[in-house]
């Protein structure tokens, strides 16, 4: 029973992973140096994880000392990993944020092709969700507003007031500069 109380730390997330439907890595961020330090170990873990999760749509699994929550859509698999003692609901909130952010960026067409088309923006989004294992933000609309997505790239209905304001300001600035 030793150590079942959780250590108070902000370092919650051990890794974030997006795989395609062949189990190939699209994006992977591992935040703890001590777990899977080499690409080879990471790949082996991913293969295993994918094998165990791609058929069973079960949302959560414990594998190799980590709790992994996951969610899939069409040809994509999203994973968030934390320690086996971690509060699963916190991890779930990160996963939901990741998924909803990607969904907003891709205007609900969450597919491999879209992710690759907007890979730069999605990289930025992941960087805004989690910084070195610390949850930076778990609110999808706030993450979307923080990544440098131009106004025209998201439909007006999904923009926050701040975003609209920001883009209006920018357009005004550009028109003045001309």
């Amino acid at each position: 029973m030793e150590g079942s109380l959780l250590e108070p730390t902000l370092y919650t997330v051990k890794g974030i992973l997006i795989l395609d439907n062949d189990g190939q890595r699209i994006l992977a961020r591992y935040y703890a140096k001590n777990i899977f330090p080499t690409p080879k170990e990471q790949k082996a873990f991913e293969k295993n994880l994918f094998n165990k999760t791609h058929r069973a749509n079960a949302e959560i699994i414990m594998l190799d000392g980590l709790t992994c929550v996951y969610r899939s859509n069409v040809d994509l698999f999203f994973y968030v990993m934390g320690s086996s003692q971690e509060n699963e609901l916190i991890l779930m909130s990160v996963l939901n944020c990741l998924y909803d952010t990607v969904s907003q960026i891709l205007r609900k067409n969450v597919e491999r092709r879209g992710v690759l088309d907007y890979l730069d923006i999605i990289m930025l989004a992941i960087d805004e969700i989690c910084d070195g294992g610390i949850i930076l933000d778990a609110d999808p609309s706030s993450v979307v507003s923080r990544v440098a997505l131009r106004g025209e790239d998201i439909p007006l209905s999904e923009q926050t007031v701040a975003q609209v304001f920001q883009s209006a300001k920018e357009q005004l600035k550009w028109s003045l500069l001309k």
Binding site: P39, E59, L63, E88, D127, L136
Partner: protein, 879 residues
């Protein structure tokens, strides 16, 4: 920008640009960054591809990384937002590989303090990833401002970066405590969370400050659920560490959190309450009922969290969990197999003896539907159950054998066989049925390794049963039907029967004679070997060459033989020079067990043999310059700590025993950041008769690093009893004060200092290697003729039970308990403990301790050893 998107789609056909990327081509393309005018439309995809490669696990050399890093800095000319942000990502990714990354400090500082809010937070985080301790002072002012910035993103970025930097420069970050304090009052939920994290990290060593922080924040009702979770963890830690704390307010806070509107917080609070050491059943009840509620949730994650926590609680408070049994039984059919397995194992832990039958019926239907990994978990739970309720062995054994007959992989079958073996070992009543099930299993077993193991077990256990002859048929059937490796194992197994059961010997000889006609070399060799030995009718030959096999460690034997064949001596090879196989200590076994239920483990590389650790030590020691030739390492003892763990210097000692010498290995850790220690040497004050032969000081011991110093002592030659003693120890060193941030010494001149360590005990156990004797009784009888015997009686008044006495004797003597005599049957007042081992120099030792309980424990100790002095030593030091 939007046109660029469309272009890319047309040109590249969606995502194909990331297929089969090559590192060299990308590095080539990255030269575009150096163009005089930066074209974001071209550069952004290149940078994206570069990052994609890095995230795929591609490794760059320092030169490549530095080149591309410098090219990337040119991109700061562009005003394109996405490009700039991608540059930050690139900087973060390359900062740990490339040289001279601080070159971008001024550009990043400009962005961080500029007006563009879209740049500022990301610039802060990038800047902090390239900053070192000296540079930090230059940007300190900006960081302090950023923490209290009105923009929440800026504030969060600054707080999180500060937390990352505490590893690098804890003292600088400590000065920002006021800013963090201010940030905690922020309206933004994430800022609040990050500020609390930083504040706690700064203050965590100061318990009073943490108590104040908790007292203040629990009243304030934080907005962020994340922050509340963090606060619950801090509170729980405080409550657990400080027994006497005035805690009503804190407990009330936790209970209040059980009614929080966020499920995350409710779960966190319930989890914390059930795991507190001090929790009483009154506090437990509401937490359990919350978890019970979660068990019925529609969300798999919530059910999983609840059942995982209940599973943990089942160990400490089984009765509290029984209230949830109905809910848990519903979860057995859960579509998420992790949840179902956890539910099963929880039920097995809390189940009463009476409910075992019903539970097993439920599991039977469940087991056929789950994958092998989960079945293994279930089998392990059944093993625990069998140990808890030995009387239920027949039900459980039937269940296990049914599982054995079903389809399944090697790992699953092996775990079932393991469980049956454990039950057999633990419970003599179950032995016959267990062996019968295993015999049946090998009749139809497709896994060679498992069949070999079971045959080996039959050879060991079969002869001791009432009717050994019935097993012979099963074993001989294998010889007729199976592949060579199994046939060979079967031959060895039969030989065991021949050696242990004289009335079967004749029949066995006939069977062995048939085996000598086998087509496989190994099988023939074994059959010839055993039939020869068995025909001699000599008990001691049986004992040494059939019943007890080689005790040496195999890797060491291989090494010694290789060295022997390479050297050109005429001397015969001496088996005694090979180190013995260390018997795994119970601690390592426990470590293996310490795995949460429901955790799947992918089959990794098999763990290196235990003895390798010892081989590593031996190699390290032999590499010391001018070390004496002491022969081969005999035994390495457990680590002993010579300081409290939270002192200025942390010293641990590992004793390595050789035939005539002992090497003391001192692992020292310097925990003072403002000191550099040099010439660290441990001066021991040995007890009488010992002689310090050599000393190897540790030249340098910087902050937070472990250095090793060695001392070689020679055992007293004449007086064996004198080898058990106490050494005084002092650590002597030269201190140089240094700058805590850089680790460089302020002056070249240091001063001498010393630090008293706790005394070091040299015990008997340090000089004895454990040896496992399969047939202790035979060795004992045989030793009667050739060995010296000493006997003495002791009264051990400090022990109140036989278990306690047995445990202490085993630990003190460092001998291996044989024939499971370390397990005392409940309710008995007498017990005989059988021990075996080898004293340094290769003298075999057998010890019989007869114990009787009557107001303390009385012990009659009989020692038989090849050397009279060793026997004398053991009787003299006990007591």
């Amino acid at each position: 920008m939007s046109s660029f998107r469309r272009d890319k789609k047309e040109d590249e056909d969606g995502g194909n640009m990331f297929v089969s990327l090559e590192k060299t081509t990308i590095l080539q393309e990255a030269r575009k960054f150096n163009d005089t005018t930066v074209n974001p439309r071209k550069c952004t995809p290149i940078l994206t591809k570069l990052l994609f490669l890095l995230y795929q696990g591609e490794l760059l050399t320092v030169k490549e990384a530095t080149d591309v890093f410098f090219a990337m800095t040119k991109l700061f000319q562009s005003k394109d937002v996405v490009l700039r942000r991608m540059v930050y990502l690139g900087i973060k990714e390359l900062s740990c590989i490339a040289d001279d990354v601080i070159i971008v400090t001024s550009s990043l500082t400009k962005d961080m303090t500029g007006k563009e809010d879209i740049y500022r937070p990301a610039a802060i985080r990038a800047l902090c990833s390239i900053t070192d301790a000296t540079m930090l002072q230059a940007i300190e002012r900006y960081m302090k401002q950023a923490i209290v910035d009105r923009n929440s993103a800026v504030s969060s970025a600054a707080l999180v970066s500060s937390l990352h930097l505490t590893k690098l420069a804890p003292d600088v970050i400590k000065r920002w405590v006021n800013e963090a304090q201010e940030a905690i009052n922020s309206d933004n939920i994430m800022v609040q969370y990050h500020a609390l994290g930083l504040l706690y990290h700064i203050r965590k060593t100061d318990r009073l400050a943490v108590t104040k922080l908790v007292a203040k924040l629990t009243k304030m009702s934080l907005k962020s659920p994340y922050a509340v979770c963090m606060l619950i963890r801090i509170t729980a830690k405080l409550l657990d560490e400080e027994e006497s704390l005035n805690d009503t307010a804190m407990i009330e806070f936790m209970e209040y959190c059980l009614r929080h509107k966020s499920e995350m917080v409710v779960y966190e609070a319930a989890h914390a309450i059930v795991n507190l050491k001090r929790t009483t059943s009154r506090e437990l009840a509401p937490a359990i009922s919350v978890l019970q509620l979660f068990c019925g949730s529609a969300k798999p994650t919530l059910r999983f969290a609840a059942v995982r926590t209940l599973n943990q609680v089942a160990i400490t408070h089984p009765s509290a969990v029984t209230a949830c049994n109905l809910d848990l039984e519903n979860l057995i059919t859960d579509s998420n197999r992790s949840i179902a397995t956890l539910a099963i194992t929880t039920l097995l832990k809390t189940g009463a003896e009476s409910s075992v039958d019903r539970l097993m019926k439920q599991i039977a239907t469940f087991v056929s539907e789950i994958s092998d990994e989960f079945k293994v978990v279930v089998v392990q739970a059944i093993r625990a159950l069998a140990l808890k309720f030995p009387r239920k062995h027949s039900v459980l054994m039937n269940f296990l054998s049914a599982m054995l007959r079903e389809e399944g992989g090697l790992e699953y079958k092996a775990s079932i066989a393991d469980t049956i073996i454990t039950i057999i070992e633990d419970n003599p009543d179950a032995k016959e049925t267990g062996l019968a099930h295993l015999c049946e299993f090998i009749e139809d077993c497709e896994h060679f390794s498992l069949a070999v193991r079971i045959l080996h077990l039959l050879g060991k256990e079969g002869p001791k049963t009432k009717q050994p002859s019935r097993y012979i048929r099963f074993i001989y059937n294998r010889v007729i039907l199976e592949c060579p490796s199994i046939r060979a194992a079967a031959v060895s197994s039969m030989a065991q029967f021949g050696a242990s059961c004289p009335d079967l010997l004749e029949n066995i000889q006939v069977l062995l004679a048939r085996c000598q006609m086998d087509s496989d070399d190994e099988v023939r060799d074994r059959a010839t070997y055993y039939s020869n030995i068995l025909s001699k009718q000599d008990k001691s030959l049986y004992n040494n060459y059939v019943l007890d096999t080689l005790q040496v460690s195999i890797p060491s034997l291989e090494k010694s033989l290789r060295e022997y064949t390479q050297g050109s001596t005429n001397q015969p090879f001496d088996m005694k020079s090979v180190p013995l196989q260390a018997i795994p200590t119970s601690r390592e076994e426990e470590h293996h067990k310490h795995k949460p239920d429901g955790m799947l483990v992918s089959a990794g590389p098999i763990k290196a043999a235990v003895s390798n650790k010892q081989v590593n030590y031996a190699e390290k020691i032999s590499e010391l310059p001018e070390i004496l030739d002491m022969g081969s390492l005999f035994k390495t003892s457990e680590v002993v700590e010579l300081t409290e763990s939270e002192t200025e210097y942390f010293v641990r000692c590992i004793k390595h025993c050789y035939a005539k010498h002992m090497v003391l290995q001192f692992d020292c850790l310097n925990t003072l950041s403002d000191q550099l220690l040099e010439k660290v040497k441990i001066q021991v004050d040995p007890s009488e008769g010992y002689r310090v032969v050599q000393e190897f000081p540790c030249p340098k011991l910087p902050y937070n690093e472990t250095g090793t110093a060695y001392v070689v002592v020679e055992f007293p030659e004449e007086d064996l009893v004198g080898t058990v003693g106490t050494f005084g120890a002092v650590m002597k060193f030269v201190v140089k004060d240094c700058d805590p941030t850089t680790g460089l010494p302020d002056t070249d001149e240091g001063y001498d200092d010393e630090y008293m360590l706790e005394d070091l005990e040299i015990t008997l156990g340090d000089q004895i290697q454990k040896v496992s004797k399969a047939n202790w009784q035979v060795s004992w009888e045989e030793a009667e003729k050739s060995f010296e015997e000493r006997e003495d009686t002791y009264s051990l008044s400090t022990f109140n039970s036989l278990e306690e006495a047995v445990k202490n004797i085993v630990q003190y003597l460092g001998l291996q308990p044989c024939e499971r005599s370390d397990k005392v049957q409940e309710g008995k007042t007498t017990h005989t403990l059988l021990l075996a081992g080898v004293y340094r120099g290769g003298y075999e030792v057998l010890v019989r301790a007869k114990l009787a309980l009557s107001e303390g424990v009385t012990m009659q100790l009989t020692v038989r050893s090849a050397d009279a002095e060793v026997a004398e030593l053991i009787t003299a030091t006990v007591g």
